[in-house]
């Protein structure tokens, strides 16, 4: 095989506010690779099939001197995130050519060589679901929803859950888990199309937060027992205001603040005491050891049988990464955002 293009998408500049496609990150199509002959040094070469675009990536676009739970991206180097690919060649006994592997540090490039097999999980996919779903409903976003709902919701039949970013990859999974546990589900999203999707997956009350007041909906529906927070800020204030005594707040993300230059001050914190609220900030990785095997044993099958529905908003090619990142930050993505890099 002759050398082929090895397109990459690079971190180019630290953004202030929203990331700018072509500026914050740039596509580079100048490199080539020969997958058949590139030295493996005891490792393996992977052809990337699909990459996930997630809200938390914004937090990695920072000065590397600022500490956080996840390392900063390196300027001039490819972005990386959850991905799935196929092993082209391998000198490592753990992987064979043709096997599919999933991992959280897939570089945003068409082919890559690695020697650390421990960073990847072999995906057999006996259920035959599309490979891209392993970076969405059957990947990190689905795990985020599944692990934390099981660990923190303590949801009981007859209670009410409120799920923000309900049409996103995490939120839509949470909506369905809450329904499976017998809760009434209120869900919000940022477009009427997403609201329709929320209804189609079983949300009892779905609304467009851009055109309807969150506080008014929560009050009209009689308050909430579980809050799944993907947005923070004013919506968190509204949820605290509408919380019943002993409500559980699953603090998964606060996208309303990721691109803000001034943090929003949450005013209702005194009610955390008076209503005996519990707030659980978490990172999916911290719960993996407890729930990961159960997840892979149960969830791909539930997806294959249609018991858990998902949607994808697919962009094709690494050139589209910048726009995809921005869409996830400003909420113009239609569903779980995936970059399809290759078909097989």
């Amino acid at each position: 095989m002759a050398p082929v293009r090895n397109g990459r998408h690079l971190f180019n500049e630290i953004p202030t506010g929203y990331p700018v496609p072509g500026k914050t990150t740039v596509y580079d199509g100048s490199e080539t690779i020969d997958p058949d002959t590139v030295p493996l040094n005891g490792g393996f070469i992977v052809k990337t099939l699909a990459l996930s675009i997630d809200p938390y990536m914004r937090g990695k676009m920072r000065d590397s001197s600022i500490k956080s739970y996840t390392p900063a991206y390196t300027l001039g180097q490819p972005l990386y995130n959850f991905g799935i690919g196929v092993v082209v060649r391998s000198d490592n006994s753990q992987f064979k050519a043709g096997q599919h592997v999933y991992g959280g540090t897939f570089p945003f490039q068409e082919y890559f060589v690695d020697t650390d097999a421990g960073k990847y999980r072999i995906i057999e996919n006996k259920e035959g679901i599309p490979w891209s779903v392993y970076v969405g409903a059957a990947g990190m976003p689905g795990q985020t929803a599944y692990y934390a709902w099981k660990e923190y919701s303590n949801g009981k039949k007859g209670e009410t859950a409120f799920v923000t970013s309900g049409a996103g990859s995490v939120g839509s999974f949470v909506v369905q888990l809450a329904k499976l546990d017998g809760l009434k589900v209120i869900a919000s999203a940022g477009s009427d199309e997403k609201v329709e999707f929320l209804k189609s997956i079983g949300a009892d009350v779905a609304f467009n937060y851009k055109t309807t007041s969150t506080s008014e909906v929560l009050e009209k529906e009689g308050g909430i027992d579980v809050y799944w927070d993907n947005v923070g800020g004013e919506t968190l204030d509204a949820a605290i205001g509408a919380a019943h005594t002993n409500a559980r707040f699953i603090e998964c993300g606060m996208i309303s603040g990721y691109n803000a230059t001034e943090p929003y001050g949450v005013k209702n914190m005194m009610q955390v005491v008076s209503k005996q609220l519990k707030l659980y900030g978490f990172i999916v990785f911290a719960l993996a050891s407890k729930y990961q095997e159960e997840f892979y044993r149960l969830v791909p099958g539930m997806i294959a049988r249609g018991e858990l529905k998902y949607t994808e908003d697919v962009s094709v090619g690494l050139e589209t990464v910048g726009e995809a990142i921005l869409a996830v930050q400003n909420g113009t993505n239609k569903a779980k955002k995936v970059i399809k890099v290759a078909d097989a």
Copy 2:
């Protein structure tokens, strides 16, 4: 026995901002009672010995149409709170004259008749500690500290706890529980005298928050793993900012907001997610069934043996209630505030 004065302290007016002695609440010495002849209707008459003054009483001085976890005081009626007294006469088989009883709804008056024995607990006091301690370290404030520290702190040797209102009845107990569990303890209070007291009960680092920056102290000491919050507001922001990953926040009270007309907006909430913080709002009564008997079995003895130290700031007479309430709200009390109503 001839009729004697039955002094009372009444709720007189809903305050805006801090309560005003003689206006928000007033002393009334116009009533009399004959303890020997007053009809009991199958109940019992109690002579009040000591009453507790607590921060949360401010929340009860509101319009009764506003819901909260605790009912509003009734205008024109005596205040009520935790108290201890001695049974003078009883037509109820559960209580005998001379027994001491403790309860959470002691009216602020010298004598009272009640028929509901279920509201009171007989205190035998085999340990011989002062009766007033049963409304402080061996009463609700001590229980607040004990129950929630056991339930939520998950404190481990070598970790660091930060306790606000550290010289108060709850805080000083928490400081000592944290030390017993092997933690390094940082504690704050509002006067140099209180700071000295904090050092005397074992706080490793004690500071006056009015003259020293909380954020600077927490940063210099390397951050915190457990935060005992009695104050909320800016201090909560500082604690979130200084929290280690997986820190536990025990949300006991937010006195900085009780008398504020505009709520403080907590700006660091995004770190609840990134640092995986857990915030536990609670009310002591909700944990009583789990810890109450253990508390009464262990704590009075620990106090009697000097293993748990306490201090009291005693005012004598129901006339002093208004000033005592204000002192607890603005922090000019020196220690656990107690009204001594009678010696025996």
